[in-house]
């Protein structure tokens, strides 16, 4: 057996053993052994991806099960990055989960949780290896189902069940689309190997249908607007290490599938494919962050940011597709590489943030930011990790979010090479909106970190918070290091990803050279950036400033006093700026979009209206898509359902009339049918 074969087997064995251990073990050992199984399996997945990337070799195997002939697996350059991110986030969240899930002991089933967690990782690992449609679809459905059950972990909360319903509904819509897509693609025979499909060329109309279906199906999983609604519902209610996996890896499978179909199996299409993906990406990026800003549930906020980042990834892919259709291969490659890079990065920092949010939840038992505050003193390591994640997701240099977003900007700038006026207008708008969403993301994470961790505790729960146990810290640590590492090494990551993509058979950019020089020289040579030098420079400057202060003999005395509040008697938590207040200016700015409902009720003293007893201010945002798209849609369906209910009116004569009419109708139909 080859090295990769051994690794694949090893990973499967580890996951299954972990699942078994979780099922059979008692609360404590099942939890720990299950986590070990998951972590070691994830580590093997990670190394599998690395081996695949490093060696450039392709692993391929076909298994025959009694009913399912041709369960085909294959690892190529496109699978490898996803294996790596699965492994990274998987390992971190398993380690984290070992500690985190202890809180469920005696409340919810740990066995189910542990076993399903292992199974989810298993399906995720195998998903990117699927080499025919049947394998792909089976794993896809298995993954969705396992994820669904994991979302349902805390099933006693009504919100959880509601979220799970939404998730399953949307993912099933996606699955139906994918089923149709694969049937069209493979002309009915789902067990055709992907290699054969690459060689086939469907007719253009069918290609377009396939593309639309693929976009629909995969964006449902990825959480692209308008199919994103399940994300902010399902991610918060799942256990945090599962949320990390959901947001870090599961939704990335949508990206993977889209890439697999559109880049690999049906390489090349008309420009509007790219344009559509780009437009959806831009919309997702903007709306995602806008709704995140208004969110005070820490995990919901993070979930909306997943929508944003998936949008950014699709901007990269869309731009790449557009360039591809105009024959600008090196720019296309740049776009795809940027998208893949951002995919990995997002997995790392969003995983990290969800784990951090989980630690906060673990310590305070609330997800509401307005009840947090001051946690940086109680849980300094978690705070540091969350800060790293927040800085990464805000694309602050020199962390990893910046590296990939910079690449995406560079890709978009390449749009100037396309002489179409439509593109000429589209690209700058995309640049502008991407930049806007970047700025808003920064604002949002200042809020998320600042309100959660800084200042003084806003509730007794936050006052009693405690640092997370070591295993949880370790889980966060892994991803924190990954964020820093990926941020500092674009000069290494980008060529590797480029080579991985160049390995795909149908892509015509083998000739593209991704140089391995220290600064990140992009192939289009639009701009240059070197994050290691930048990081080094920042570090040196950080050291130099205190030195300079010492040289000029600055006063080093520091006195600790009260916070200045215009001389008020004492500071109470209620005097602090709240998350709502923090986001208020932006809400006013985007009021047209949010259309907030305001409810101000003032209770006056019964004797005089100059004495106010209490003021209550309530303001709610109804997400636009839910209000304008889903509610009417659901309304239509329910209206149809109501109409259909009247078919069964309980009236026997009517029923018999149906028969008579049905008979006559069929007789007429038979008349006309040869």
């Amino acid at each position: 057996m080859t090295l990769m074969g051994t690794l694949v087997t090893g990973a499967i064995v580890c996951y299954l053993a972990g699942a078994l251990a979780a099922l059979l073990g008692n609360d404590r050992w099942g939890r720990i052994l299950g986590a070990w199984g998951a972590a070691s399996g994830a580590a093997i997945s990670l190394s599998l991806g690395m081996v695949a990337l490093a060696s450039g070799s392709v692993f391929s195997a076909v298994f025959d099960f009694p009913s399912l002939t041709g369960f085909a697996l294959r690892i190529d350059g496109l699978s490898a990055p996803f294996l790596i991110l699965t492994g990274l986030v998987g390992a971190a969240s398993s380690v984290y989960g070992a500690g985190y899930s202890a809180a469920y002991t005696g409340v919810y089933s740990l066995r189910k949780l542990g076993a399903l967690f292992n199974l989810l990782l298993l399906t995720l690992t195998l998903q990117v290896m699927a080499d025919n449609a049947l394998t792909f679809l089976l794993l896809w459905e298995a993954m969705s189902l396992v994820a669904y059950l994991l979302v349902l972990t805390e099933h006693r909360e009504p919100a959880t069940v509601r979220a799970a319903n939404w998730y399953l509904a949307i993912t099933h819509v996606g699955f139906a689309a994918l089923l149709a897509m694969f049937f069209l693609l493979s002309a009915g025979d789902l067990s055709t190997a992907f290699d054969t499909l690459r060689a086939n060329a469907p007719v253009p109309t069918q290609r377009n249908a396939i593309f639309i279906l693929a976009l629909l199906g995969f964006s449902a999983k990825a959480g692209l607007i308008p199919l994103h609604v399940w994300l902010p519902m399902a991610h918060p209610v799942a256990p945090s290490h599962v949320s990390a996996l959901l947001s870090g890896v599961v939704i990335k499978m949508g990206v993977y599938g889209f890439c697999r179909i559109v880049l690999d199996l049906m390489s090349g299409g008309p420009a509007w494919w790219g344009g559509l993906a780009l437009a959806l990406g831009v919309a997702s990026a903007l709306f995602g962050v806008l709704y995140a800003l208004m969110e005070h549930d820490l995990k919901r906020l993070l979930a909306y940011h997943s929508v944003e980042n998936i949008g950014i990834i699709f901007i990269g892919i869309g731009a790449g597709l557009m360039f591809q259709s105009y024959g600008l291969m090196s720019l296309a490659a740049l776009g795809f590489v940027a998208a893949l890079y951002h995919t990995i990065n997002h997995a790392c920092f969003k995983g990290l943030l969800f784990l951090g949010a989980g630690s906060v939840l673990h310590a305070t038992h609330t997800r509401n930011m307005e009840e947090m505050g001051g946690l940086i003193k109680k849980m300094p390591r978690t705070a540091l990790m969350f800060l790293i994640g927040a800085a990464s997701i805000s694309a602050l240099p020199p962390l990893n979010g910046f590296a990939s977003e910079w690449l995406i900007f560079q890709t978009l700038l390449g749009g100037s090479h396309i002489p179409e006026p439509a593109v000429a207008l589209m690209i700058p708008i995309a640049v502008a909106l991407l930049a806007l969403s970047g700025g808003l993301a920064m604002a949002c994470f200042v809020k998320a970190f600042g309100i959660t961790f800084l200042a003084i505790a806003r509730s007794p729960a936050a006052e009693k918070a405690h640092e997370a146990p070591l295993s949880m810290q370790a889980g966060m640590g892994i991803l924190g290091l990954a964020c820093i590492g990926l941020g500092l090494t674009p000069f290494f990551v980008v060529p590797v990803l480029g080579r991985a993509l160049a390995g795909l058979d149908r892509l015509a950019w083998e000739t593209t050279v991704f140089s391995l020089t220290l600064p990140l020289n992009t192939p289009a040579t639009f701009g240059s950036m070197s994050s290691p030098l930048l990081a080094a420079g920042l570090l040196i400057l950080l050291g130099l400033i205190p030195l300079a202060l010492w040289v000029i003999g600055a006063n080093r005395r520091t006195r600790v006093g009260d916070t200045w509040g215009c001389g008020r008697i004492a500071q109470t938590p209620r005097m602090q700026y709240t998350a709502t207040a923090f986001a208020e200016p932006l809400r006013r700015v985007f009021a047209e979009l949010y259309r907030p409902t305001k409810d101000l009720s003032i209770d006056f003293h019964p004797e005089s209206k100059y004495f106010v007893q209490s003021i209550e201010y309530q303001s709610e945002i109804h997400p636009w898509f839910e209000k304008l798209l889903y509610q009417p849609l659901i309304g239509i369906f329910h209206r149809i359902a109501d109409r259909v209910r009247w078919i069964q009116a309980g009236w026997l004569g009517l029923y018999l009339t149906y028969m008579l009419v049905g008979l006559i109708a069929l007789l007429v139909l038979a008349w006309w049918t040869p």
């Binding site: 005395r557 006195r559 006093g561 009260d562 200045w564 001389g567 008020r568 008697i569």
Partner: protein, 170 residues
Amino acid sequence: MRLFSKILSVGIVTEPLDNGGEEVELARQVAAKTQKLLGRAVGIREVDAGSCNGCEIEITGLTSPIYDLERFGLCFVASPRHADMLLVTGPVTRNMEVPLRKTYEATPDPKLVVAVGDCAKTCGVFQGSYAVVGSVDAVIPVDVFVHGCPPEPSDILRGILAALDRLPPK
């Protein structure tokens, strides 16, 4: 455009230094002192501890083009954290006792306190009122009192000078 023509026609109205007069003399001394002691940059935080606002009107006069406090490197700041000197007016009322103390505590060392107006020293007509704690120095250490009800801007400048004088050499 009309604004600019107005600016041109008015010119500089700040009283020139070589014009003689008490204020200018004082100002010159202040300039010298501040330069020596606080690098000729002093942030002033004004605290109204319960005054009738007469003093405030005069203090505001200091920032007008005529007196133009800024030319000496003095300026009013928005936070005691940024301040080097507190300018306290009025008798200290009960409600302002703690805030005054807090403001004093919030100001980083080295710092000065100038109490402006008669009320700050004697509580003036408010003396004995149930709402009044007492003079400013009953609450925080005061470096210099400026008399007058209200004192003229020049008096205030004099007070500032006196205070700067008391600042211990660093």
